[in-house]
């Protein structure tokens, strides 16, 4: 059973439902479709691969428990993102998190990637590090905004709803966030 589970999740584009969610109906598809987005948001927002794993686990466990409360008024992606953002913000606010030092370099070395050649793995890793540095240099608000807008499944209205502001405000701040990101990113070259 264990080997089946890991095989199913190494390849993100697999079409069969994850074995552990068999019989759970919509939840299987939910994990398959959205787990990468949830993991990525948590990873780049918190800048900590271990925490991102914890958050992804907790978000989907909460979704499993609260599935009946999902009224379908928003998209499943938005619902999961809302849980993710709340969880990440709670983590950031906690005393433990505020007093914890930066993540060790070796933690980033083990990040799973599906780049096909060693050169691509290296390129992806280096780019990932520069992206993380640039995001870390932004305010939490700009960081979250950029990460959400980068998801093509979300509209400006949905990003606005998730960040509690209007779509126009999102557009305005996005311009400044892009500029700040580009400045920090270029400095890291």
């Amino acid at each position: 059973m264990e080997s089946l589970v890991s095989e199913a999740f190494v390849e993100p584009d697999c079409s069969s439902p994850p074995p552990f969610l068999e019989g759970e109906g919509d939840l299987a598809g939910l994990y398959q479709k959205h787990s990468r987005a949830v993991y990525y948001l948590a990873l780049r927002f918190l800048a900590n691969p271990h925490k991102a794993e914890d958050v992804t686990h907790d978000v989907f466990l909460k979704a499993y428990r609260k599935w009946e409360q999902f009224r379908g008024e928003s998209s499943a992606r938005t619902w999961l993102y809302r849980i993710t953002i709340n969880h990440c913000c709670n983590l950031q606010r906690s005393w433990h998190e505020r007093n914890l030092g930066p993540v060790e370099e070796s933690t980033w070395e083990n990040l799973p990637s599906h780049a096909e050649s060693p050169l691509r793995v290296l390129e992806t890793k280096e780019l990932g590090q520069r992206i993380q540095s640039a995001l870390d240099g932004l305010s939490a608000e700009y960081r979250l905004l950029l990460l959400l807008v980068a998801d093509e499944e979300l509209s400006y209205d949905e990003v606005g709803a998730l960040t509690e502001q209007s779509a126009d405000a999102v557009r305005g701040k996005l311009h400044r966030a892009r500029k700040a990101f580009a400045t920090i990113f270029q400095k890291s070259a």
Binding site: A37, Y40, P112
Partner: protein, 75 residues
């Protein structure tokens, strides 16, 4: 011998193509931050450990019961 002289340019061409492809990959250009983040996200894989942990956690949690009104209207 003839075969060998013919195969060298082919190998070289293949190598050159590989180098060109590598160069194109390393000089990837992005229009804006979101495009870069989208590319970065696409390279990411959720660690298999998450699914294993989730499986264990879900085994410890009782399956959520359907509310009475959902049961009623689904009949």
């Amino acid at each position: 011998m003839k075969h060998r002289t013919k195969s060298i340019p082919l190998e070289q061409a293949q190598q050159q193509a590989n180098v060109q492809q590598s160069e194109q990959e390393t000089t990837r250009q992005f229009a804006n931050a979101e495009e870069m983040l989208r590319y970065d996200a696409a390279q990411m894989t959720v660690p298999a450990a998450v699914a294993k942990r989730l499986q264990q956690s879900m085994g410890q949690v009782a399956a959520p019961k359907r509310s009475w009104w959902r049961r009623l209207f689904s009949k």
